[in-house]
């Protein structure tokens, strides 16, 4: 418990909370839009960016952000349509990851730096970087609140959304950048390899429990928050185990429980179709 008095722990918990909120917000859209692979792709390339940042400026956090934004741009330019997207991401991911490994082999510094990028090291992040993390998290949250309604329209019913004047393509690209920034932020806490445990698992769990988009969003945020801060806290207490282990574990536990109790909650809502009164 004593750890909570230390500024480094407090700062990390606050940054993690902000990152978790953004993950919880984008998660349902990631699931709705079938963008799990995009999350994975951008996080793998946040790794490449982090490696480059480490090598060139000794700043893995900034590098991860730049890397993921470059990837979002590439996916946006090369193919946003569902069919194209996955193959585009696969191509970029493979090439980028290779580049990342190459960059790391040039890196002569601290040996644990590489594993820290892959598995996260929020307690090793400087205060200035935490500030960057929090500011970007806030920006992402504000953007999501702004575009929430049209993005929901575009994700649930794209054809009608277009007909009603929603600029679905533009929104898709904006969401791609929002997702990239969120992913790079989450990578600081759980590492690039475990980003999905914050960006998908909470939303996937929430969806098992409700069909209301707002309830799903709320639950997804709560699950991500508990997993992120709970994981950090557990790691503080245990000391020798990385937070990402606990974050992924808590997140997965939510999912298991949701899968178990979900059917009981959602099937009851399905009533037999009624004849029309009209």
């Amino acid at each position: 418990m004593g750890y909570l008095q230390y500024p480094f722990a407090q700062h990390a918990l606050v940054a993690a909370a902000l990152v978790a909120i953004t993950c919880g917000l984008i998660g349902p859209f990631v699931v709705m839009r079938n963008m799990g692979f995009a999350v994975h792709g951008t996080s793998e390339l946040a790794f490449t960016g982090a490696a480059a940042g480490l090598l060139l400026a000794d700043n893995a956090v900034l590098g991860a952000y730049i890397g993921s934004l470059v990837v979002a741009g590439l996916i946006g330019v090369m193919g946003v349509s569902d069919r194209e997207r996955d193959s585009t991401i696969g191509v970029i991911l493979a090439a980028g990851l290779g580049l990342g490994v190459l960059l790391l082999s040039f890196y002569q510094g601290f040996a644990a730096a590489a594993t820290n990028i892959l598995f996260g090291d929020i307690f090793g992040v400087s205060d200035r970087q935490l500030l960057l993390l929090s500011a970007i998290g806030l920006g992402v949250a504000v953007t999501m609140v702004l575009i929430y309604r049209p993005l929901l329209f575009a994700s649930l019913d794209p054809e009608v959304a277009r007909g009603r004047g929603v600029r679905t393509r533009l929104l898709g690209v904006v969401f791609l950048f929002v997702l990239a920034l969120t992913v790079a932020g989450a990578a600081q806490i759980v590492g690039t390899l475990l980003v999905l445990s914050l960006a998908i698992t909470p939303a996937a769990s929430a969806q098992r429990l409700s069909s209301s988009p707002l309830v799903v969003a709320g639950l997804s945020i709560v699950f991500a928050l508990v997993a992120a801060d709970g994981g950090l806290f557990a790691s503080l207490v245990v000391g020798t185990i990385k937070p990402s282990v606990f974050v992924a574990g808590i997140s997965f536990a939510f999912y298991l429980v949701s899968r178990l109790i979900g059917p009981a909650l959602t099937t009851r809502r399905r009533r037999p179709p009624s004849p029309v009164e009209a």
Partner: protein
């Protein structure tokens, strides 16, 4: 409905010399059409004739390459509150995280920025729209688990939520069985009568709307014909439109258009000018 247009207030859609070309291909040329409020226009034609594209022009998604279009007195633009849109009945994904009422709620300014919270007044409107299509019993079920007909009723409710004066329908009956087709048709027709709305209804088959259509717009290969169903659905007129032998048969209550009938029953020379022969009583 607070329509400030004078003179043209009952004019829902106006196309003047409207032309749409994609490169070498002409979808239609010099299309003239006025659709007034309360009228039902069926838009027909073979695949690729530009029926759906016509809707996209009116929705402001596709610019004309020539001529002008007006919808509710204004050039087409996205998010026009006077326009309701019912798409083809493509099913929602099974595990889509939304209930029927969430789909309907998107009709309440779902295109605006912000969070999708609905006030009590909007929620009452949504409930009303759901009840009006007889969807109250299943509006809270996950939309992906509903039948095609149920989903399409919710889409009708979504389109009617904004009380549009122009209703654009893109084959809303496709993939529905006959009973469901009648239900959905009845809802659209009921709204047209009660709100004096103009309905522009794209369909590949005239029969489900034959009794309702005041007029027909038939698009074929860059050419078009418009008039009452009785005027357009004649062997002569459609043969001229298709530029080949076409036969219009009446089988019971149904109209059947036979294209490429090998010329055996084609009594008229395709180039011969046609006569209006209103046969329908």
């Amino acid at each position: 409905m607070g329509d400030r247009q004078t003179g043209a207030s009952d004019e829902a859609v106006r196309l003047a010399s409207a032309t749409l070309e994609f490169g070498e291909r002409t979808l239609w040329r010099d299309l003239d059409l006025v659709l007034r409020r309360g009228e039902f226009l069926a838009v027909l034609g073979p695949n690729g004739a530009g029926k759906t594209t016509l809707l996209q022009v009116l929705l402001g998604l596709e610019p004309l390459t020539g001529g002008t279009a007006l919808v509710a007195g204004r050039p087409p633009h996205g998010g026009n509150p006077h326009v309701g849109y019912i798409p083809q009945s493509r099913p929602f994904e099974r595990d889509l995280p939304a209930r029927g009422r969430d789909i309907v709620a998107l009709g309440a300014k779902g295109e605006r920025l912000g969070l999708p919270f609905a006030g009590p007044k909007t929620r009452r409107r949504i409930d009303g729209a759901i009840a009006s299509v007889g969807a109250t019993a299943f509006a809270d079920a996950p939309v992906g688990e509903l039948s095609g007909g149920e989903q399409q009723r919710l889409r009708v409710a979504q389109a009617l939520l904004g009380q549009p004066s122009v209703l654009l329908c893109d084959e809303p009956l496709s993939a529905l069985d006959v009973a469901q087709q009648e239900i959905v048709m009845g809802l659209i027709e009921g709204y047209r009568r009660s709100a004096q709305a103009a309905v522009l209804f794209v369909t590949h088959d005239i029969n489900p709307v034959l009794e309702l259509a005041d007029r027909v717009l038939y698009l074929v290969d860059g050419r078009w014909a418009a008039g009452t169903p009785a005027e357009v659905f004649t062997t002569e007129r459609l043969s001229e439109l298709y530029g080949t032998c076409v036969e219009v048969l009446r089988i019971g209550e149904r109209l059947v258009v036979l294209t490429d009938t090998a010329g055996a029953v084609c009594e008229h020379h395709p180039e011969a000018s046609y006569l209006h022969e209103p046969k329908r009583g």
